[in-house]
């Protein structure tokens, strides 16, 4: 009664073929990641030590550690966050909750999407023009971080908007019907139910900026500066640029040093990603509707 027809057989063969194909694609996708990580750990692992992390480069950068670059990257990312998160979250709230749906809003949304597609070198040149020269910050952490901030703004806005839109419309309507203002609704219902999603998205996106090189290269990151920055108007070293310099500009750098820098950089990004994923899993566990 349930005997397979010829069509059933053909469908089953097709289904198997596609399953195998997609599986293969996935495998191809993760292979490079695994290879990269393995190589980094094997070649860079030996370089890791307290001394490597906490001392300045020496001997024309062919020896010593990465401390100024590590601290510099933390500065750059932190200041970029301080600048982009308030602005990005505020504009996302405006766009998602207040802005009327008209051609102007659509134009802004289009602009945001396109801004996300601008190559980082273009952002770098914009940063030189706007922050280093026009605003007069000179080559400094402030100028470099603001450049990073402008670059991450679109992703912060998009991530925030998506979290806000994940809160069902029915909740808002219920509040409005009770005579709540838009702000009361946002403050008491929308934000409490999306703030964690917003933070997660923001951490994830901003952690990517720690690896950027082009935007900071001309705006505030120094090739070699074995002191820690004292304030936002100082220049600083940064891990990403340091890696670039070690691998292309300085002769005779021991290989394990280069790989060590790369390993620390990728470790920082992965740690932030892991934090954000953990956060997300935790939040999904206490979803409220």
């Amino acid at each position: 009664m349930f005997a397979a027809t010829a069509l059933d057989h053909r469908n089953r063969r097709t289904q198997r073929a596609f399953k195998a194909l997609f599986g293969l694609m996935t495998l191809m996708l993760i292979t490079p990641v695994i290879i990269i990580l393995t190589v980094l750990v094997v070649k860079g692992g030996p370089a890791l030590s307290m001394e490597f992390l906490f001392s300045a480069p020496s001997n024309g950068m062919t020896a010593g550690g990465i401390f100024p670059a590590l601290v510099g990257t933390v500065w750059l990312v932190a200041v970029a966050l301080l600048a982009s998160v308030p602005v990005g979250v505020a504009s996302a709230i405006y766009l998602a909750e207040y802005a009327p749906d008209n051609w102007f809003t659509r134009l802004i949304n289009l602009a945001i999407i396109n801004l996300a597609g601008v190559p980082s070198i273009v952002h770098a040149l914009f940063g030189v023009g706007a922050f280093v020269l026009f605003a007069g910050f000179g080559e400094s952490i402030l100028a470099a971080s603001l450049t990073l901030a402008v670059m991450t703004l679109p992703v912060v806005i998009v991530a925030t908007r998506e979290s806000l839109q994940a809160v069902p419309k029915a909740f808002r309507e219920a509040c409005w019907n009770m005579g709540a203002t838009r702000w009361q609704t946002i403050w008491k219902v929308v934000l409490p139910n999306s703030i964690s999603g917003i933070l997660t998205g923001v951490i994830l996106e901003v952690s990517r900026t720690s690896g950027e090189t082009a935007p900071i290269m001309f705006t505030g990151a120094a090739l070699f500066l074995p002191f820690l920055p004292q304030g936002v108007l100082d220049q600083t070293m940064a891990l990403s640029l340091h890696l670039f310099v070690l691998s292309t500009q300085v002769p005779n750098v021991p290989e394990h040093l280069e790989y060590g820098v790369a390993l620390v950089l990728i470790g920082m990004v992965l740690a932030m990603n892991a934090l954000s994923i953990g956060f997300r899993v935790y939040l999904r566990g206490r979803k409220k509707w």
Binding site: E173, T181, K288
Partner: protein
Amino acid sequence: MVDAEVKLSVRGLRISYGDHVALDGVDLDVRANEILGIIGPAGSGKTSFLRALNRMDELDTAMTVEGDILFDGRNVRDVRNVYALRRRIGVVFPLPVGLPMTIYDNVAFAPRIRGIRKRAQLDEIVERCLRRAALWEEVKDRLKALGSLLSGGQQQRLTIARALSQDPDLLLLDEFSIAVDPVTTMRIEDVLRGLKDELTIILVTNLVQQARRLADRTAFFLNGELVEVGVTEALFTGPVVDQRTRDYVEGRFG
């Protein structure tokens, strides 16, 4: 002309979404302390009518409302403080919406936004409203549980408690029983009968028999037109009634 009996007076109401007219030429009075039933097939404009009453059209750019709606003699269009207007009108939706906060906070939401902060006062309001919505006994031991995780029928009663916490003059119910079991529906219907002494109720329903059970008067909407409004029993059994109304209430339609 506006005697004390009339709570809400609608004249020449026209509601449209872009080019599409959802409701036109509606003249209707709602008397104080009555339950007015509104029946009519899907898409006849019942929900749109309710939304116009508390100016929810302002939150939907596509929706346009023309005509006069007098609430206690005041044209709602001219009310400056739309939030105060909405606070006097409680609304219950077809699908229950428990807000993602505790049961207590759900019911305390409206009192809080109108400035009540004292714990004792809030406690009193929460208990009173939950009791009147016939939900108190089921939730009194877990007021700190999430309102959005109650069962559908419980959430619907929570929604009613929340609407009551606004201390409204007018309660609008839009097909409240659509996601609720028959037993709960009967309990809520009892609640509504009890509320009639204090407020005016407009009950939109797809269940003709529900209108017959509850409504003092019933209005029949069809394709964006108010066909007629009259004493409920008359629509079902009375002599002079539009034939379309009679066909609809007797289930002989189309």
